[in-house]
């Protein structure tokens, strides 16, 4: 129990953070927002899964992937395929020339369900696929690249290319994927209408619960020897290697973990928004999700959630009032976060509470800046 408290909740300060987040998500937001806004928040929180994954991958392992949208999308499509099959029952689709198959297939002269789709008639299969398919792809890509020491910018560019390929591929195979329109008009989950207000609430809370679960899981990983190892890897990869660790396999593991989380996020997106389309897979969403993490503070798990909420809230509000300004703002945000607040909200928060949390500040600040040294000189690094 104690161990759980320390490792997973992250001791006193950590657990306070989680509790605050939980209160915000489970109590404050539902009470203060109307159903529509809450559903929006729910949608944003699904992005937060990706952001949390990126905190592990980018913030703690120094590997930046610009292709996380791939995994979000794959998870989403796996979920959507199941829901679509349920939605296109024979009576719902009797107007089609081939009733019983998804409408877009009918439009593309497909007369029987493609074999790829068949297993997605089973919910358990779909649910497993939601996490497994992204993990598998991540494993293949990760192994191929990390074993060959592809990292940094190269990894980023290649993952970005993969995101492009996937979205193009989906576009190009309408009969199979619904093409550009994506898979739309999803209605029920095992007969339970996911579009009703009550369903929206249930799904929202489920989403929150899973998100906090994901955060705690990441917390645990970081609290183990692996957490320290990842830090060490970021600092001196060669040293780690010559201390007897297979660096690549650790990166692969984190990449897979992040991918799995993104997949779950994608599935929850589909459940709450009711459709999926390639526009959630491509380059732009992938890199936007990076900025969510960056704004929150790329090393802070909780920060990722707040970052996601802040940026998206900003996006929704701004685009309602003056759309023109939004892109300027978004762009400015990228630059500002990188140049002025390299540790995002978390960094700002820490520097406020630094008197009490010097250690976390030291961790948060870039190693090279004088500030660190000064701070440390004072404290002698004691913690």
């Amino acid at each position: 129990m104690k161990k759980f408290y320390n490792n997973v909740l992250g001791g006193r300060s950590g657990s306070i953070g989680v509790i605050i987040l939980a209160i915000l998500l489970f109590a404050i937001l539902p009470m203060s927002l109307d159903a529509f806004r809450l559903n929006l928040v729910g949608k944003y929180l699904t992005y937060a899964f990706v952001a949390v994954g990126l905190v592990l991958l980018w913030g703690n392992s120094g590997v930046l992937s610009l292709g996380q949208g791939i995994f979000f999308g794959l998870g989403g499509y796996c979920m959507a395929m199941f829901l679509k099959l349920e939605a296109s029952s024979v009576e719902n689709t009797k107007i089609q020339s081939t009733p019983g198959i998804p409408d877009f297939m009918d439009w593309n002269q497909i007369t029987h369900l493609p074999s790829l789709w068949v297993p997605f008639k089973s919910l358990p299969f779909a649910l497993v696929a939601v996490a497994f398919v992204p993990t598998f792809i991540a494993f293949v890509v990760g192994t191929a690249m990390f074993k060959r020491r592809v990292g940094g910018v190269y990894f980023a560019v290649i993952t970005q290319a993969l995101a492009l390929i996937l979205s193009l591929g989906i576009d190009g195979n309408q009969g199979l994927t619904g093409g550009r329109n994506g898979i739309t008009d999803l209605r029920t989950l095992l007969g339970w209408d996911i579009r009703t207000k009550s369903a929206q609430y249930v799904l929202y809370f489920a989403c929150c619960a899973l998100l906090i679960g994901a955060i705690l899981l990441s917390r645990f990983v970081l609290s183990t020897r692996m957490g320290r190892l990842l830090l060490a890897m970021k600092d001196k990869e060669d040293r780690v290697r010559f201390s007897g660790y297979d660096v690549a396999s650790f990166k692969v593991f984190v990449f897979c973990l992040a991918a799995a989380m993104s997949g779950v996020g994608g599935a929850l997106f589909v459940l709450q928004v009711g459709f999926i389309s390639p526009s959630l897979v491509g380059i732009v969403p992938s890199i936007e999700m990076v900025i969510f993490a960056a704004v929150g503070g790329k090393q802070s798990l909780l920060g990722a959630v707040y970052g996601t909420l802040v940026v998206n809230a900003g996006k929704s509000l701004f685009s309602e009032t003056f759309p023109q300004l939004w892109l300027f703002l978004m762009g400015g945000l990228f630059i500002a976060v990188v140049m002025l607040f390299p540790n995002g909200l978390a960094g700002i928060f820490d520097s406020i509470g630094s008197r009490f949390k010097k250690r976390s500040l030291i961790k948060a600040l870039p190693k090279t800046t004088e500030v660190t040294v000064v701070e440390l000189a004072e404290t002698g690094g004691k913690s």
């Binding site: 183990t224 020897r225 692996m226 600092d235 040293r239 010559f242 201390s243 297979d246 593991f253 690094g381």
Partner: protein, 247 residues
């Protein structure tokens, strides 16, 4: 030669970078519990040899046998597990981890992906860490982050990290560079102590330090062995004096 009672047997080792041969047909044998020092002018290929042994650089030709098993083509972490420890020229430790954590990461068990997840800080781990910390004179600094150790202390810490793995062969690249005379003293002691049950391969420039620790000295020049023998022999070797001590 297939079987050998040498701990490390390097034969016809060659590596060339776009035609330039950094190491050229090198033959080098290190016995068990031997402390061997490699000297040589800059660009002689000293560091490259260590890189080749620990797998950092891939050889063009030749063979490196450690305990009669071929190291060439083996993955770095496997080489480490087979008992080779390597210290880098510039002290390479984890700046933002404490001395304790630095040592702990080098603890040789639980180094697989899931091993690290399952790893627990047991009493014996702690005992081992303290023992090593003791021997590298850092017992009182266990909670300090690596970043705030003196240059010399960092050198020691890295040696300590190697000791944690308890390797049969230790390769040290200029271990006393940037150390105060006093620290050199202590380092010399340390090395004498630790080579009792293992071999050590050292690259060093500081001649009187070498003469104090070396069992045997190898002089490299342009990737080839120029001379090999006791310090005394080496010092009286005019070939060596020409290329090296001469200037």
């Amino acid at each position: 030669m297939s079987e050998t009672n040498f701990l490390l047997a390097i034969e016809d080792l060659t590596v060339s970078f776009d035609g330039f041969k950094a190491v050229d047909g090198l033959n080098l044998y290190v016995a068990r519990n031997e402390l061997r020092v490699i000297i040589g002018p800059n660009g002689a290929g000293k560091t490259t040899v260590l890189d080749l042994i620990c797998g950092k650089t891939r050889a063009t030709a030749g063979s490196i046998k450690f305990k009669n098993c071929e190291l060439l083509g083996m993955a770095e972490h496997k080489i480490v597990h087979s008992g080779v420890g390597r210290k880098f020229q510039t002290p390479s430790i984890y700046e933002n981890l404490t001395v304790f954590e630095n040592l702990e990461l080098s603890y040789p068990s639980g180094q697989s992906v899931f091993g690290t997840l399952a790893f627990r800080r047991t009493a014996e781990v702690i005992a081992r860490i303290e023992e090593v910390a003791e021997s590298i004179y850092l017992k009182d600094q266990l909670d300090i982050e690596g970043a705030f150790l003196s240059h010399g202390q960092k050198q020691w810490l890295e040696i300590g990290m190697l000791l944690m793995q308890n390797p049969e062969m230790l390769m040290l690249d200029e271990p006393v560079a940037g150390m105060s005379p006093a620290e050199r003293e202590q380092t010399a002691e340390l090395l004498k102590k630790i080579c009792e049950n293992r071999s050590i391969l050292i690259i060093e420039h500081d001649m009187d330090f070498v003469s104090r620790i070396a069992h045997k000295v190898t002089v490299l020049h342009l990737g080839k062995i120029l001379a090999e023998g006791s310090m005394a022999e080496i010092q009286n070797n005019e070939k060596v004096q020409d290329v090296y001590l001469g200037h």
